[in-house]
Assembly symmetry: C2
Homo-oligomer: 388 residues x 2
Amino acid sequence: MKGNFTYCNPTRLHFGEDAMNYLVQELKAFGPVVMLSYGGGSIKKNGIYDAVAAALKEAGKTVVEDSGVMPNPTYEKVLEGCRKVRDNKVDLILAVGGGSTIDYAKAVSASAYCQEDPWQKYWVNQESPACKTIPVGTVLTMVGTGSEMNGGSVITNRKEGFKRGKVFGTELFPTFTILNPRFTMTVPQYQMVAGFFDIMSHLMEQYFAGTADCTTDYINEGLMRSLIHSSRIAAKNPQDYEARANIMWTATWALNTLLKMGKGGDWEVHQLGHAIGLVTDATHGMTLACVSLPYYRRVMHDGLHQFVRFAVNVWGVRPDGKSDEQVATEGLACLEAWMKEIGVVMHSRELGVTEENLQQVADAVLILPVGYRTLTRDEVVEILRESM
Amino acid sequence: MKGNFTYCNPTRLHFGEDAMNYLVQELKAFGPVVMLSYGGGSIKKNGIYDAVAAALKEAGKTVVEDSGVMPNPTYEKVLEGCRKVRDNKVDLILAVGGGSTIDYAKAVSASAYCQEDPWQKYWVNQESPACKTIPVGTVLTMVGTGSEMNGGSVITNRKEGFKRGKVFGTELFPTFTILNPRFTMTVPQYQMVAGFFDIMSHLMEQYFAGTADCTTDYINEGLMRSLIHSSRIAAKNPQDYEARANIMWTATWALNTLLKMGKGGDWEVHQLGHAIGLVTDATHGMTLACVSLPYYRRVMHDGLHQFVRFAVNVWGVRPDGKSDEQVATEGLACLEAWMKEIGVVMHSRELGVTEENLQQVADAVLILPVGYRTLTRDEVVEILRESM
């Protein structure tokens, strides 16, 4: 492990089947007006909305309804949320949903009282808030993004034609998060599996960077092994509480800043996935799944040591008598077999990528100068074509 | 993973060779009077004291000197520190040293304004503070205990004849911690290696409990693998920065509450070690080393599944064609070989345990009703005898 870093993650996590019991106590620490942000209304069917509403009532809160947060939340929706916050003098944003809803809540928190253009300041210039922000609490209903314990906020700006991520500091980490694995069981199989791959992608995109020996990578390998084990169980039986609980906990630690400490990251797969999502509005985790194998097979030789380690320590490939290339290739074959086993989408044409919109997708890909190799524009097109 | 739990760890960690650069900024957040707690004066020889004093001066603080914190800090010393805190209206306790100094600082923090008898309230009755506590900041100079990012406080009460641990809540976690791996290089080889085993013991004592599949155990396996790898390098070359940095980071995560989430723990090895330490004043990590193999070989059959997993996932034992007992036994043999390789003390007679004081040590052992099996008093004596 090399370099200097500061680690701090103050989010308080309440985990387990009884985690909602802590919501009233958490709410009491904030002022009287709570904006309740959520998505398309599925929480009204599965009882989670009622449970949250009861807690808000018991805590004596005035509730500002804020429904309709979409899977890839738009900047337009963020500006609408900002108006609600200002008009109602909101004291807490309670995000009930998955990563999209929580990402949206942070965006609103940082933008409501921003004196400049928020899109330009945060998502383009990557600056920090200089204004008052609103505390965010979360009740997680779908795992994957890790947004419940980090400062990440991915927003789509349709007018500008970009889906961009901003990582805020601890001032925008959720103050508290309710993690009840049973809540994640109401998510349809397709979304569940997409979430599993999103988690795996977070782990791999932090793992495949750097050459130093780093404790963080050993932790990462443990999380990957746990995810692979539990996702195989959950894909067959989504009602397996133990598996869903382990996956929920893994998802949180996969992207709560710990795994990047002392090393860099790659994140090109997320850029490729964001571009596909922007053009097709496909489910985030599935966009990552389609591009991962073409991408990793292309950069494997540039980070061969780490791909060998991945094969041996994560997938149990035995290296005896094999070349490093063979071992690394076997590791990626294990990854592919696991992806097929849990049932992710393997081809981006199934998500709506076509020869016609390929250049549009490629135009939207942000090429990052990190990871084992910086892609060329031609390579981006080749990877996207291979992903189809 | 089963059950419910709350995780929150607000300690801010500054890690790396330049970590001290953050000290002035951290100090400025507190009032004017800082009690500087440290041990026997080694920090005055290696330059750490001067660096801390310069930061205190730059931050404009009034310093209350509090030296002489001993390796197994006594309750008498704690009461002395409490008087200094009250007499000087201390705003921050800055603990510069290893786990003993930090454990001591937390004890003083919780006890200075305690209206009851602190020993009885905290270390016997295991209650939480009801009084004002003093913030604690730390500059770590020796790794092992994890005290820099948790609420643990192990104190020796010579009058009562006990060395006891208390785990305080987040209100007593250090507010900030400076982790510079170079600072740990000034520790003599014996203390360094003892710290390595202390870390391994923390990992094992949380690992060897429970039967549920638990993500936390996969993280734990990663930390054990990293520690084994880096300790082999550091035992031969204590100046290897990368190895010492990885070990420092592993030590913090080994005991900052993460690894107990969703599962129980064992901690009988620590009880056995504390008793030896109480009678002989031997170095903590070495007392753990002497009793670990006798203890684990005794409880192996009660938690066989986990000992098999330990052998395969941590030590790379190949299970092909072997019985579970054989695999588990091989795993413990690997542990023994590693202990000898890094140079821990393998026999408690070298620490001062004799046939004459054996019963006295046994009397001081707290038998915990957790882990894979609860020991009998006879077994405690047998383990101690086997440890000689």
